[in-house]
Structures are given as C-alpha cells and as structure tokens.
Symmetry: C2
Amino acid sequence: MKIQSPDSSSPKKELPPVLAELHALIENDLEQTNRIIVEQLNAQVELIPTLGSHLINSGGKRLRPALTLLTAKMFGYSGDQHALLAAVIEFIHTATLLHDDVVDGSLTRRGSETANSVWGSKAPVLVGDFLFSRSFQILVSHGDLKVLEVVADACAIISEGEVLQLVVTKDLSTDEERYMQVVSSKTAALFSAAMQLGGILCKRSPEEIEHLANYGLLLGQAYQVVDDALDYSATQETLGKTIGDDFQEGKITLPVIHAYAQGNEEERAFWRLCLEDTNHPEGGLQRAIGIIKSRGSLDYAMKTAKRLADEAKEHLKKFPASEERDTMLKLADFAVNRNY
Amino acid sequence: MKIQSPDSSSPKKELPPVLAELHALIENDLEQTNRIIVEQLNAQVELIPTLGSHLINSGGKRLRPALTLLTAKMFGYSGDQHALLAAVIEFIHTATLLHDDVVDGSLTRRGSETANSVWGSKAPVLVGDFLFSRSFQILVSHGDLKVLEVVADACAIISEGEVLQLVVTKDLSTDEERYMQVVSSKTAALFSAAMQLGGILCKRSPEEIEHLANYGLLLGQAYQVVDDALDYSATQETLGKTIGDDFQEGKITLPVIHAYAQGNEEERAFWRLCLEDTNHPEGGLQRAIGIIKSRGSLDYAMKTAKRLADEAKEHLKKFPASEERDTMLKLADFAVNRNY
C-alpha cells in the first residue's frame, strides 16, 4: 500500500501558493506523518488498510495534521512525537469523513468515489471505528493524559455536532447561532485540537495553548462557513464533489439561513418546499443559487468567514513572527479565499 | 430520562437464578453504574440520551459491566471507580451494538425495535461515535493509562473483528479457526477487558490479571458460540430477536461450518445457495435447522462452548473461593446452558 504525499496526491490541480509554501515548510514532517499513517493503518484484516488508504490517499489537503506540525515547528520542537500526533489527527478526521459519507449517502469526495460508494455502507462504519480506536491506542503509547483529554474531548464534541446537524436538517427555524454551534463542533473542534496538540507537545503555557486553541477554532469555523458557501457557488470540477449536495439533503447552512430570513413570501415557500419537504422542482438548485445571490447571502457568508479568519489571526499574532506563524496567518486568508 | 435497573428492565421473563444471584451480589454497584450511565449520557443534543437510553434501557443482562464489578468486589475493592469503569464497558458495548445493528440492518434486539428501526441508520452511527468518545473522556478523567490501554486495545480488536466478520460473510470457505478469530475479537475482547479493569483497579499482579483476562476471553467465546447456535435453535419469543438472522444475512457461524463440512453434495449445494448467493428458497430456514440437527452440528457447537466455558473456569479457580468467584463460575455454565 502506498500513501501518496500530499503534494503529489492531487494530480488534477496545482496546489495554491499558500499550501505549497506550507507543505514545503514541513515537508519532512509530513513525510514522517505519512509513514506513520501507513504503519498504523496496518491490520490483520486487509480491508482496513485498503479502505482507509482509499480515502487518506485521495488528495486531501492534510490541513489538520499540518496545523500540529506547524505549531510544533513554530516552537522549535526537535523530537519525533509531533508526526505521531499529526497522524492521529488525520485518522480522526478520516474516521469522521467515513461516517459522514455513510450518514449523508455521499457518492463522491475530493473528486473520487467515496468509500461507501465503492464498498457499501457497512465497511466504512466499521473501519471508521477502527481508526478511532487505533488513534486512542497511539495516544496511549504516547502517554500524555493532557493530549488524550484534548482528543477525547474533540471526538465527543464532533460526534455531538454531527448529531446536532442531523437534528437541524430540514428545519428552517435553525438560526445563525445554532448553525455556528454545528460548525464549531463538527469541524472547528478538530482544527482546535490539532493546534493544541502542537502546543502541549512543546509544553507551552495554558494561556498560549488557549490562543492556539482559539486560532484553530476560528480558522475551522471560517473554513466550514466557506465550505458551505461553496456548495452554492463553486463549480463541480474545482470542488471535487457534487455541487448542491447540502441543498439536496436539506442541510440548513448560512447562505440559506440568510436568504430565508431576507426572502419574500414566495421565496420562503420555495425554501420550505426544497429544504423541509426536500421536494425539488425542476431547476430548483439553479433557482436557489439565483435567490442566494440576489439576496446577498453569499456575500454575507463570505463576510462572516472573513471576520472569523481575521479574529483567528489575532490569536496567532500573540506569538513572535516566524515562517510557521506567517504561513498560518496566510492560511486563514486562504480558508476564506479558496475556490475549493 | 429514567434508566431502569437491570433486574426491572426485562418484564417479559424472570431472570434465571444465576443472573438474579449475580445482580443481588452487586446490586448497589449496579445501581451506581446505572446512575453514572444516566449522568454520562447527558449531552446538549437531546437525541443522544434519548437514543442511547432506548438501547441501554432495553433489558440487556448487564453481563459485561457486572464482570468488572464482580472482579473488583472479589478483591475487596472499596473505592468508587469500579462503577465508572463498568459504565464505560456498558457504553462501549452499546456503541458496538448500535453500529452492528446499522451494519446488519437489524430491526429487533432484546425484543424491542432497534435504534435504526426507530430513528433510521444515521443517528445510531453518530450516537455510537459519541458513546465511544464519551468512554474515553471518562477514562481520561479516571487517569490510569493502563486502563486506557486495555480499553483502546479492546476497541481496536472489536472493530477489526467486525470488519473480519463482514469479510467472511457469505464465504463458506471460512473455517473454524477463522470463525473463532471473529468471535474472539467482536465479542470476547470486551468480556476480557471488563475482567482486566477489575483487576487493574485492585492493583493485582500481571499474572493474576492474565488469568482474569483469559477467563473473560474464554467466557466471551463460549457466550458467542452459544449465541450463534441459538440463532438456529431458540424460539423467537425467548431470544428476543428474529430467529435465523444469521442465516438470512449469510453469516458463517459454527453450526453452519460444521454442517457444511459434514454435508453431502446436495446439502452443500443448499448451503451455497442460501449463504453465498443469499437466495433463500421457501422453507429454507426450516431446512437449514433440519440439516444442522441431523448432522449433529448444534451438539458440536454446544460441546465447543462447554469446553471453552470449562477452560474459562480453570482460570478463575486460581483465585480463592468467594461468593463473587463462585458466581462467575456459575456464569460460565449459564453462558452455555441459557436459552436466550
């Protein structure tokens, strides 16, 4: 089994400059992380590494493990445990994606077929469980209870967020606050944990770790808000998954919350029909995109994301300038300005 | 939300004497465990305790947490952490059942509707993830890395066993050794972990913990072998789930492995049709039960279970006689002689 390195894993498009810069900065660390991923995916049952590497190899940006590695490097870490913790972050991310895709019935991700579309929904549930378990085995071998606490807390928050997302699906009474709660839990909690692990590893003060956690949380929020906006604005080719998935599934995201609040009676009836009854008229997605644009709802979402990213940067600016810090500052801008 | 105590949770039938004795012996501990389960199921998202308690309340025998409690009591434990660890064992058991029932598409368990039959398959996947995560949060608060190691290892083994079971489904070349590997991983690993936690908590020697682990492993194996035999011999009313589920799903269990090996050409063709092609002729299950009886395959499975239970008891006999030990000895016999 070959795990591709992140910079060779996405043949369809060039890496944007900030990601290329980021990968160059921690190239060796990422390679070490990839080696650990291969080792730790090993199991007696061949389907586990096969299915696991299908997703891990599929050209993800390795953003979350990169945060752990960049943070460790920013503090001059010289040991070999950072790659182990980064691998755990990627495993947990992968486990949540496997379960997500089963729950959503998604057929494509990152331009490839999802695991459930290749193997059916049974194996991804169980391999996801394996990745969670293996993550905790690795953390036990690392032996730091504080690290275990951060990861266990993040996992609980993520699963709670996923359940919340399920509960608010098709419910147009969902407000922005509730939406941000979903975003914070299901996505931003792992960004935050990834940052904290770097800080804990380097024995930083609780105050510093708090800034790292907040940067991660706000970056993750901005990232997910943009993700949700892209579902109504990107092209399928650049996004690597089907456009309008959220719309089809009745997910209530920020553009919709804004457009629904601003809409006239007829538009609101349209949203209810599509999202609450998931009864999609011919051309429904195009009409949804049209309304969202005309109501300024994409602009609103992007402004929200920019505000979160700017706030994220403030927390990072508490640390002295360094290549790693400055790359993470740019990463916050990239989270907002990307088109996939 | 009310979590029923185990002895009031199964209104349909009287507890068999050994379970009544067992519950009486650790009544307070089980009550404390149930209180912790209620507390720890709490989450901001109401669906989590609702769905979790649906299964936890459904009249399970609480065998696995009882093992932790009995072991702690056998060693005279006087603290309050045993109930916490027992609750974790029940959470992990519940999480695996939630995921199992989704993977198998099962509609009934313990005589009630499964969570996936009430809420669909999405929520049980995510609530299962929550229970895993919450378990590790609890263990981190307990703070013993050895306990964390035992549980993380058990979880990895369980999920690996579940994947293996998936892989060998509908594959009649599965032999007894491979079958025992599935049984050991998916079921017996948690029985073994439950025993070990009791021993670790009471700071027993590695050799003693090894005996506890082996008792749990062998007990769990015997228990699952009987479970699989009951799928061809019990009545639906006593079993609390649909008879012939394994047969319908193409699961290759010990009675089938034996009957297939002993069968004539016509019987083997029947097994291939039913289990590999899952093409079930009218009256297929009745014919399968008939063949299994006539080939002595149920007897073979029950003898195997009895041998495992006897071996389990040998490990427990290394410890001085006590009410707890003797109840666990009887429990090994019950695992074999039960009819549900």
